[in-house]
Amino acid sequence: GDSVTQKEGLVTLTEGLPVMLNCTYQTIYSNAFLFWYVHYLNESPRLLLKSSTDNKRTEHQGFHATLHKSSSSFHLQKSSAQLSDSALYYCALSDRGTNTGKLTFGDGTVLTVKP
């Protein structure tokens, strides 16, 4: 079945440094639909950005990601980390095959930004 791997469980950065959170996926389908969700403390998880177009950069709220089907990757990046970016980030893959609307989530990466 589908799977999503986020190899870093915890990333700690100093404010102002660039952010890169890794996401790789496996699916039997040639079309892949990838999402990044962000979960701030004491809030609900919510969609940050999504993409299905190969090699096209998607941006939202200062973050960006590019889907690379050749390497099955969808890494989340930001040029300069802010204290307010501290949160839990999930990469997710849509269930393309059965249209159930199901998402397969990675284990998540906790991003902590320090002054």
């Binding site: 969609l47 849509s94 609307g101």
Partner: protein
Amino acid sequence: EAAVTQSPRNKVAVTGGKVTLSCNQTNNHNNMYWYRQDTGHGLRLIHYSYGAGSTEKGDIPDGYKASRPSQENFSLILELATPSQTSVYFCASGGGLGGLYAEQFFGPGTRLTVL
């Protein structure tokens, strides 16, 4: 106005007791989902539903039942709670479409502790 609400927000239960977690959505979405969130495991799907009267097993359904009495309401039931079910539970709703339309909208979560 929050579109997905959960009750209770916090619950302490005893081992062997029955626990019911409730979820209500005003998005008029067909699909609803129950996840548990544990450190190192991300969001794992317990049960989901395509509409009133339907429930489907997710990836980790053992020890849980679900009920969807109406479009708006989706409950998660622990008939015999165990300490291993101590976790944070999230409900989500979605339009049920696949691909890039698979966005899900999450509730605020319920923190369950089983003693």
